[in-house]
Amino acid sequence: MAENIPVGSTTDGAVQVGGGQPADARVSAPASYDVADFPVPHGREEEWRFTPLERLRGLHDGTAVDDGGVRHDIFSPSGVTTELVDRDDPRVGRAGKPVDRVAAQVYSSFQKATVITVPKETVLTEPVRIAAHGQGGTAYAHHVIEVGAFAEAVVILDHTGDATFGGNVEYILGDGAKLTAVSVQDWGDKAVHAGQHTALIGRDASFRSVVVTFGGDLVRLHPRINYAGPGGEAELYGLYFTDDGQHQEHRLFVDHAVPHCRSNVVYKGALQGRQAHAVWIGDVLIRAAAEGTDTYELNRNLVLTDGARVDSVPNLEIETGEIVGAGHASATGRFEDEQLFYLMSRGIPAAEARRLVVRGFFAELVQQIGVAELQERLLEKIDAELEASV
């Protein structure tokens, strides 16, 4: 399934049917809310082996101390409530437990969790916006976004500025709810951001996630999907543009534990520069009870210059044969010198030729998102990123 793999890249894939090591065993300790349950990683663990720990600035070993270094501003349409709550609030931690040391550190370290609630049957006409702006310090934050039964909402999380940031997000969808959740990592060059984004999808609910990572020195996110009842749908879209010196890691896990749910994952990344490193892990587990599951995941990478590195690891484990479909694909291709020559031979300057190709590569994905205003904004963002870096 891999094609045109450039030097310095790996593209592995695995499909296991029954038995064997469960996909979620990629984590070396059981999920827990308590940071003390996770040993400090040394870098050789399966879930840490791609991550340069020395660049995490202590998020993984307890030395990063919250100094309020990230300002959060929330803009919410009327009808939406925002509360600051303690760790023991029943809504906190409901979507799923932290699965690694950093996510548990966030859970153990945040001052107050922010709970944003869209009441049941409320259909929002404008998005909820959460702006996280790094002020150069260290911060831990936990957001819970709860969308009640049959409610519909779009939530946009923007991360800008510079910070060492541990951020967890929980999305809780009631029965029949519809949520589009966008998380844009538009950090400055020095930012470090790690965290877990966990969704719990109610019966017949639809969750659409768009993760866009452009900035930061290091970004490491765990988008995770759990289903609370049958009929749930998850569309997970991701876009990343990894420049020289950046490490951008997206580790997805979709846990099909209930019947008749659907998941579709498409992550696309472009890389340029010698020290650009992108990691994509796509784990899907179809448990024995999850009959009627339909799942597909795709990761595509476009390597623009020599020396950039991609690790793309899709993994599908199936414990029941009674499914509608299951598949995955991963491909990493190069922007070839011949393509560059062809475009340049038509008068197009080299930098513009690169931009043209990358814009096209991402536009294909953006068009699938289906929210016009959001699509436009993302294309503008892509253009701005390309203008600045290619």
Partner: protein, 251 residues
């Protein structure tokens, strides 16, 4: 009047066995409005000439000069050559995933013309050019050369030729791999550009077949990296009858 002058051009490539000279002193002048056919056996260096003129990085110019209206072409980057008025229709056009034909054409027309064409007239211009080449309108939304048939690729090259209106067009084996219908359509496109009188055409071909549709003013036989003989259209008839043997044998 635009003139492309090639003088004593030497070009080499790097191979596993070291540097190899492919062009050994090519002399040729192509003026606006003229059509020159370059014919020759495989391996004679015809395509190397085409790609060297366009500036492909694989080829190293080791001697000689190329000027377009007195400007040094060899000093220009690939895109500068195109903007100066050189066009190469490729034998094997490259697939560019993610870039639609319409976006590509507009970007390239903007680059070559120095300003973005006005949207309304541009849409009409492209539509008409596509109709003349019997290209399906849906083609505009496909990715450049991706999944195109051989004939579609060549039509797409000629579509660009018609839209970019270069001073000098180099057509590298545009006829190869075409059935008779496609060959006729493509030749009609080339003839429209010639009739404008504003483009000099360098038609590189292995076969005489395309010369039934496009009558050259000059025919050159290419062998061993240089022009071995030049003449009028009658030279093509001689090649048709006798083949290239006279030019390839001997050291």
């Amino acid at each position: 009047m635009a003139t492309l002058e090639i003088h004593d051009l030497h070009v080499s490539v790097e191979t596993e066995n070291g540097t190899k000279e492919i062009l050994s002193g090519v002399d040729l002048t192509v003026k606006q409005g003229e059509t020159h056919a370059i014919m020759g056996p495989n391996g004679s260096g015809k395509s190397t000439l085409a790609y060297s003129l366009a500036g492909h990085p694989k080829y190293t110019v080791t001697g000689g000069t190329v000027t377009l209206d007195g400007e040094d072409v060899l000093e220009m980057s690939v895109d500068e050559r195109a903007r100066a008025g050189l066009f190469l229709a490729m034998q094997y056009p490259v697939e560019v995933p993610g870039v639609s034909v319409s976006n590509f054409l507009r970007t390239s027309a903007t680059a070559v013309r120095g300003e973005a064409p006005k949207l309304r007239t541009w849409v009409k211009e492209v539509k008409e050019a596509m109709e003349r080449l019997s290209i399906d309108p849906a083609f505009a939304e496909r990715n450049v050369n991706e999944g195109f048939s051989g004939g579609e690729k060549k039509r797409h090259e000629i579509l660009q030729l018609e839209l970019l209106k270069p001073k000098v067009a180099v057509l590298d084996e545009t006829d190869s791999g075409l059935d008779v219908d496609a060959l006729r359509t493509v030749s009609e496109g080339v003839n429209r550009v010639r009739e404008s009188g504003e483009t000099g055409t360098l038609l590189i071909t292995h076969y005489t077949r395309i010369l039934r549709y496009i009558t050259p003013d000059h025919v050159h036989v290419f062998a061993k990296g240089r022009i071995a003989e030049s003449g009028g259209p009658e030279l093509a008839d001689k090649l048709e009858a006798e083949g290239y043997e006279a030019y390839t044998k001997g050291a």
